[in-house]
């Protein structure tokens, strides 16, 4: 699988659109260094992910990426607030408890801070997932199918929330989706179907 050169300036918002099987998840995993590209390079903030060791990539991803998943998973044994403490622990930072509570409040789930993730509704879990992606103030927010399970109204709300929180942080927002509803919302968008059907495009 090969991809064309994709360029995204800092603080921009980019939409990667593609049908399932179009390689968009692969691209997302390559972008954040979970998959190693066999050729080419992935440059983020001037650093090439491809030449890093795996441990460096783990640390780099943890530090600079916040990832929002389609279905929000959590460490089920921990409370929502404790889940937010994990990135700081893994990165060796001190956890900003007030900041975390404030973030949850901003996302409207402050009262759920001490609940187990499984006791939250789907919508609340989605918000908690966004909170976890943002808690360590990443420079890039990657959203993998953030809206595919949502109705029109919720889609608008979640996307607005993502955009708003990303711009509050000054983070680059990259949304990977097959959801056509988002198509016209972004000026910067790349349709992956074309690429895979035409490998020469790379």
């Amino acid at each position: 699988m090969s991809f064309p050169d994709i360029d995204c300036p800092e603080h921009a918002q980019l939409l990667l659109l593609g049908q399932s099987g179009s390689g968009k998840t692969t691209l997302l995993h390559v972008l954040c260094g979970m998959l190693q590209a066999t050729a080419g390079e992935v440059r983020i903030k001037g650093q090439n992910l491809v030449t890093m060791t795996e441990r460096e990539r783990d640390a780099f991803r943890g530090r600079h990426f916040g990832i929002v998943f389609q279905k929000s998973h959590f460490v089920q044994s921990l409370t929502v607030l404790e889940n937010l403490a994990i990135p700081a622990f893994l990165l060796g930072d001190t956890f900003d408890l007030q900041g975390a509570q404030a973030l949850l409040d901003r996302l409207g789930i402050g009262h759920k801070a001490h609940d187990r993730p499984r006791d939250l509704s789907t919508g609340e879990q989605q918000r908690a997932g966004i909170a976890r992606a943002l808690i360590h103030k990443p420079s890039i927010v990657l959203a993998d199918e953030p809206t595919s399970a949502l109705d029109d109204q919720s889609t608008q709300a979640v996307i607005a929330l993502l955009e708003e929180q990303a711009s509050t942080l000054g983070a680059t927002l990259i949304i990977v989706t097959h959801d056509q509803r988002l198509k016209d919302r972004y000026e910067r968008r790349i349709e992956l179907t074309d690429i895979v059907s035409n490998p020469l495009a790379s």
Binding site: T25, M34, F65, S77, E145
Partner: protein
């Protein structure tokens, strides 16, 4: 937040599975440790009481019974021997020292033993109060006896005939307590000591005096001067009603006999431990399978492969350390209950509850095996393909 905290909470999420692993390991370790303690207590008690008694001289009968009756005071004596015959043996050139013992009476189930000061010297007895025996019917009381009967210095009491029951009381002769011994962990704790004349005196009518040749004692504890004594003495007493027995050999035989039972229990305990390790393995592995996505998630947040390995190892470590410590505590409870039950029967005080070096080894081994059992799922966690796991989970 730490790996330890996450491991702890993960175990807490599966309470039943965790409890099962803990209970199994606790029982396995508890049983092994209980056996260790029992063996240690038994052999300590045996050794302390044998000290350097090489031979026991007494009436013919079971040699084991002779030892149990006269060294440990737990069985009935094999009979009496004539003092004159015994003295010949004591004066034998191969014999260094002989401590004569005579008994036949009890006070509230505790034996009254007539001997000489050599007996208390042999066990390095220390007086808690009072003095040594100077005259007939003066009694020095062992620590457990004093504690149990409440006898104090200057108290008088009557003895009962026989070694246990209290029906046939000799009301004509009064014993007087002149000394109380400190607890020594030896048979002295369970005895009332007097001189041999006292024992003879209890059973004589006031107006008749038994001729010297007819006086009898129960046994003599012998220390040899020459190793050949073990071979020679049996020959010299062949014609009498006496025998000599070697405490070390008889006790060895005894422990070997119930050693088979002990070994069976050991095997069962090890089997339980083995099952518990399987349970720990299943528990940690099950957690791994159920939480694959969580582990991948932690990788996306900056967690390393080594970190995930460490997390699962910690879960196994908490289970095996927790289980074995509970097991050690259980064995303490077990030995406490056992000692309550057995004290009435054997009058031995099993009080030392310190952790044996072997038990530390047991706990160390249990934790190590627990870690190994969790290292296998730990390795799988380490090799987890983050990208694929996240894709499949959708």
């Amino acid at each position: 937040m730490s790996w330890l905290y996450i491991a702890w909470r993960n175990l807490g999420l599966k309470k039943l599975q965790t409890a099962l692993s803990l209970i199994l390991l606790a029982f396995g370790v508890g049983l092994v440790s209980l056996l260790m303690l029992t063996e240690k207590q038994l052999s300590d008690t045996f050794d302390r009481n044998i000290q350097d008694i090489d031979l026991v001289l007494g009436a013919k009968g079971s040699p084991l019974q002779l030892i149990l009756a006269n060294v440990y005071h737990v069985d009935a004596p094999t009979g009496n021997i004539r003092l004159a015959d015994a003295e010949k043996v004591i004066r034998h050139p191969y014999i260094d020292e002989g401590i004569p013992l005579a008994y036949g009476d009890n006070y509230r189930g505790f034996r009254i033993v007539g001997s000489t000061s050599a007996y208390t010297d042999h066990y390095d007895a220390v007086w808690e109060s009072g003095r040594d025996i100077e005259a007939p019917f003066e009694v020095v009381v062992g620590a457990r006896v004093a504690e149990s009967t409440g006898l104090k210095l200057g108290d008088g009491f009557f003895s009962s005939h026989g070694l246990q029951d209290e029906t046939d009381v000799h009301t004509d002769k009064t014993f007087t307590v002149v000394g109380i011994l400190e607890s020594s962990g030896t048979v002295l704790d369970q005895l009332l000591l007097c001189n041999i004349e006292t024992i003879w005196g209890v059973h004589e009518k006031p107006d008749e005096v038994t001729a010297y040749e007819d006086r009898e004692i129960t046994a003599v504890l012998l220390k040899k001067r020459n190793p050949l004594a073990v071979l020679t003495i049996p020959n010299t007493i062949r014609e009498t009603n006496m025998q000599v027995a070697l405490p070390a050999i008889e006790i060895n035989r005894l422990t070997q006999n119930f050693g088979i039972g002990m070994r069976t229990l050991h095997a069962i305990a090890l089997l339980i431990m083995l099952i518990s390790f399987a349970s720990i393995f299943i528990s940690v592995y099950d957690n791994l399978l159920a939480r694959k996505y969580e582990l991948a998630l932690m990788r996306t947040m900056g967690g390393s492969r080594a970190g995930l390995f460490f997390l699962l190892i910690l879960e196994g470590g908490i289970l095996s350390a927790g289980g074995s410590l509970i097991g050690i505590a259980l064995s303490r409870m077990g030995i406490f209950i056992l000692s309550q039950l057995i004290e009435d029967k054997f009058r031995y005080n099993w009080s030392s509850m310190g952790i044996l070096p072997d038990e530390w080894l047991l706990v160390g081994m249990a934790i190590f095996v627990g870690l190994v059992a969790s290292a296998i799922p730990g390795r799988s966690a380490m090799k987890l393909d983050t990208s694929r796991t996240l894709t499949e989970a959708l």
